[in-house]
Amino acid sequence: MRIPNRVRNRTPLALAVAAAAFLGSACAEQAPQDVLAPEGWYAEKADDLWNLVFPIAVVIFFIVQALLIYALVRFRHRPGREAQQFHGNTKLEVVLTAIPALILAGIAVPTVRTVFELTNEPTENVLNVTVKAHRFWWEYQYPDLGLVTANELHIPTGQPVRVRLEGIPTDRVDSTAQVIHAFWVPRLAGKQDVVPGRVNYITLEADEPGIYAGQCTEFCGLGHAEMRLRVIAHDPEAFDEWARDLAEPASAPTDSLAREGERLFNEGQFPNGPPCVACHAVDATYEAGNEPQQAGPNLADFANRDTFAAAIFENTEENLAPWLRDPNAVKEGARMPALGLSEDQIRALIAYLQTLE
């Protein structure tokens, strides 16, 4: 079949437009977890390897597909055409085996080098953080500072953060075996599993202050999709200030509703469960050797957090009320029980939570 010239001439243009649209829409949108936009040395090292290998893969892709299309067009059946009856070509086959092997060897060297480089423990100016993964939220301990917080990890910029991923063997809610989770903040580092009974390490670093999105990437059950996290990077001074604030106990609530909330938090008798304090603490400090063991996230400075419930809800009264009423109704798999709170109790608890700063 003959293609009219007019159409044929436009084909490359149409293809180019399509390709540009494809790439454009891939990059233009805001993608906070884009792995191709690293924001620190550890993520950049991985990205460097990608920038080496991906172009090679693209070139090979085009060569092979071009050869395939050429062969199909050039050797298509036409009257009088005879297939050439050859069985192989040893020289060509050896060459075509050697070339990919050499390319792969070329990729292997920097890969192995980077693997070891990223495993090296940073020695200077390190902030240590211990991450414990729960169904379905994150606990962060700062052993050097004696502080604990949850879901939103604060770090200083320009400083390697050595993350100890400590796999707790037993779930603190029901004493069953804890499951595997994976800690991932794509713009700062690759992911690493948190395996019950084992300890893994990764190092991450943020160049600039900002909020970096991440989430659990090892399937962990009902709440897996909603086990998100944030890393908030501050200038070193701002980070120190944040840490001082966190260590400071919240001042006692003054208005009566919040005081009632505090009472409910610590002593409330609810139809379906114990008071909040059974699982949540509001003091962020701890002594070495006496790490916190609460079943739920630490709530110190809760009022200063942007999000709650593993970074899936904005921290607003409108979002807190349904959460306290029945956590499972808004986050499937949440392990906080619906305590059977009255609407007054919910209001009081929210008022109290807003004083935690």
């Binding site: 829409s25 891939a26 805001q30 906070p32 884009d34 792995v35 993520a43 090292k45 991985a46 990205d47 390897l49 990608w50 290998v53 893969a57 090979i60 892709f61 092979v64 597909q65 050869l67 395939l68 298509r76 005879e82 297939a83 009856q85 069985h87 192989g88 086959e93 075509l96 085996t97 990919p100 092997a101 792969l104 990729i107 890969t111 192995v112 980077t114 693997v115 070891f116 495993t119 796999g167 063997p169 804890q178 499951v179 994976a182 991932w184 794509p186 690759g190 992911k191 599993d193 395996v195 019950p196 999105a213 989430q215 990437t217 399937f219 009902l222 897996h224 999709a225 899936i312 499937e332």
Partner: protein, 622 residues
């Protein structure tokens, strides 16, 4: 039906029906068993596809509520299990069953009743797994079933997983043994190993992989079953168990499993391309040895599924290297397929289109596979949609396209009528476009950080547009499958009569009538060279141009009487289905922790095997 001459052995008179329901239930004919495998696998293909459509509907936009997390988790788990264990593997088995004997010049497989047992165990295992939807919930811990999540998930789902996969494993091991013995022992005279069609070679490699890989997963599944049902602690870290033990066992099976799924498709393509390019395969020895090399190297790459588990830099580097270098034999195959097309006289039939589609898509999956081997970046790609894109390019763009190529290619041999070329081409184009729309964008939103196995995602992550495109692509694939179904229905009645050799084929199956008689070959062929049937039809001029032989070719449709009436074939038997029927009963016994049911199932299986042993494979005197 039963005649007085049939002796009675213990429980049953020997079945004699060759047609009707009982003919199928008691058959030991590899061709009927192959058809049953194919039909069953296709039904599961529809089910797994419907699960995929539900998943894609849920993910079409952010914050959707079509599926709850609970149902979503069951669907993605069952989608994976279905497509792997109930579609790609048994579709391969269907084609192997039907065509191993035809391509090596044999009258049946080595163990016809074992073959029937494989099928019935597979069918019952699949039904057992699917019955979980009605009995408290399907498996919901992923096809990979990582412990301790798989030991902790409530409900019977993951127990169905642990028991169901063990049952399916029995079917695959029995099938593998059967195919290995058949290929080694039952080749026609002169059919030396280096004259075997490539599909047969890849079947042999696949069968060895199955034989060695399935016991590994069987051990892991047995441990998982004990952890779940009998409070063992193989994977419970609080009691000294180790979650990584599961991962090592699972992937030591799981990676060879990938090659178990792809090698048969590579074999199919390696036989289709020469047929329609009308020239011999380029570098037969290289393509065979590359397949064998993949079979061996496939055992040394499992930990690349565990690069983020914390194995340490030495292990990660070692497995990065092995993973990179398994690309070498894979590359050899791709170059050889190109070489096969090169200089050919290419006929654009539907089987050729699917085979070419396989090559084109598999290249993409292979290249993204190489990008997984750069460990530090794999830590970014791992468990994102980038990986989902990769393995669908390998297992759908690869294995499923290869299987459809095989179905279109061999359909006329099995049913005597060709599938419609027009509908076939429509099927191909719809499927390859839908496939690329569905899975191509997954590369993008995977690299934009979208993890796998999440039932929902928030707005503002940059994932919305391409997820919608993926969903549209998924429905286009579904449409293409409907076109295939329509093609099957139309062609059963009105398809062009195929004759023995509609494609001017190269291998022995085209030398006998379509559909083949029960005994396959009236006379066992004597094989003189590779592509023997082609060279029976053509000689080459000194310039290498094929010239039809006027005296050599036999017009096989021209038989005036039944030449096979004196050929002894194995007789039908009730015992394979009886022995198979006990296994799911035992399985339900484990699910419900009911020792009586466990014992009852074992008794049924044992009685079935007992009757089997006492029964000769063929009755005398007919």
């Amino acid at each position: 039906m039963a005649s007085a001459a049939v002796p009675r052995r213990g429980m049953f008179a020997r079945p004699t029906a060759k047609t009707g329901v009982w003919g199928w239930v008691t058959t030991v004919d590899h061709k009927k068993i192959g058809i049953m495998y194919g039909v069953t696998a296709f039904v599961f293909f529809i089910l797994g596809g419907l699960e995929a459509l539900a998943i894609r509907t849920q993910l079409a936009a952010p914050n959707q509520e079509t599926l709850s997390a609970d149902v979503y988790n069951q669907f993605f788990t069952m989608h994976g299990l279905t497509m792997i264990f109930l579609v790609v593997m048994p579709m391969g088995t269907a084609l192997m069953n039907y065509f191993i004997p035809l391509m090596i010049g044999a009258r049946d497989v080595a163990f016809p009743r074992l073959n029937a047992l494989s099928y019935w165990v597979f069918l019952f295992g699949g039904l057992f797994l699917y019955s979980s939807f009605f009995l408290g919930g399907a498996p919901d811990g992923g096809w990979f079933g990582y412990a301790p999540l798989s030991t902790e998930l409530p409900g019977p789902g993951m127990t169905f997983y642990a028991v169901g996969l063990q049952i399916l494993g029995v079917a695959s091991i029995a099938g593998a043994v059967n195919f290995i013995v058949t290929i080694i022992n039952m080749r026609a005279p002169g059919m030396t190993f280096m004259r075997l069609p490539v599909f047969i070679w890849m079947t042999l490699v696949t069968s060895f992989l199955l034989l060695f890989a399935l016991p590994v997963i069987a051990v892991a599944l047995f441990q998982l079953m004990f952890d779940r049902v009998y409070e063992a602690n193989f994977f419970n870290p609080a009691a000294g168990g180790d979650p990584l033990l599961w991962q090592h066992l699972f992937w030591l099976f799981g990676h060879p499993e990938v090659y178990i799924m792809i090698l048969p498709a590579m074999g199919i393509v390696s036989d289709i391309l020469p047929t329609f390019a009308r020239k011999p395969i380029f570098g037969y020895a290289a393509i065979v040895f590359a397949g064998i090399a993949i079979g061996f190297m496939g055992w040394g790459v499992w930990a690349h599924h565990m690069f983020t588990s914390g194995l340490g830099p030495v292990a990660n580097s070692a497995f990065a290297l092995s993973t990179m270098f398994i690309a070498v034999p894979t590359g050899i195959k791709i170059f050889n397929w190109l070489g096969t097309l090169w200089g050919g006289d290419i006929r654009f039939t539907t089987p050729l289109l699917f085979a070419v589609g396989f090559v084109a898509m598999f290249v993409i999956g292979g290249l993204s596979g190489v990008t997984h081997s750069i460990v530090p970046h794999d830590a970014q790609q791992h468990d994102t949609y980038y990986v989902v894109a990769h393995f669908h390019y390998v297992l759908f763009g690869g294995a499923i396209f290869g299987i459809f190529a095989g179905l279109y290619y061999w359909w006329p041999k099995v049913f005597g009528r060709l599938l419609s070329e027009g509908l076939g081409k429509l099927h191909f184009w719809l499927m390859i476009i839908g496939f690329n729309l569905a899975f191509g964008p997954m590369h993008i939103y995977g690299l934009q950080g979208m993890p796998r196995r999440i039932y929902t995602y928030p707005d503002g992550m940059g994932w919305n547009f391409w997820n919608l495109v993926s969903t549209i692509g998924a429905f286009a694939i579904a449409l293409s499958v409907l076109v295939f179904l329509g093609n099957v229905i139309v062609s059963r009645r009105r398809g062009e009569i195929a004759g023995a050799d509609p494609w001017d084929g190269r291998t022995l199956e085209w030398s006998i009538p379509s559909p083949p008689p029960e005994y396959n070959f009236a006379e066992i062929p004597i094989v003189k060279r590779r592509d023997d049937w082609w060279y029976t039809k053509y000689t080459e001029t000194p310039e290498g141009v094929p010239t039809p032989v006027h005296t050599g070719g036999v017009d096989v449709d021209d038989e005036d009487e039944d030449p096979g009436r004196h050929i002894h074939l194995p007789d039908p038997s009730y015992f394979p289905i009886v022995a198979a029927a006990g296994l799911p009963v035992t399985g339900y016994g484990v699910i419900y922790e009911n020792p009586v049911l466990i014992a009852a199932g074992l008794v049924v299986t044992l009685l079935g095997l007992f009757g089997w042993v006492l029964e000769p494979s063929a009755e005398e005197g007919h």
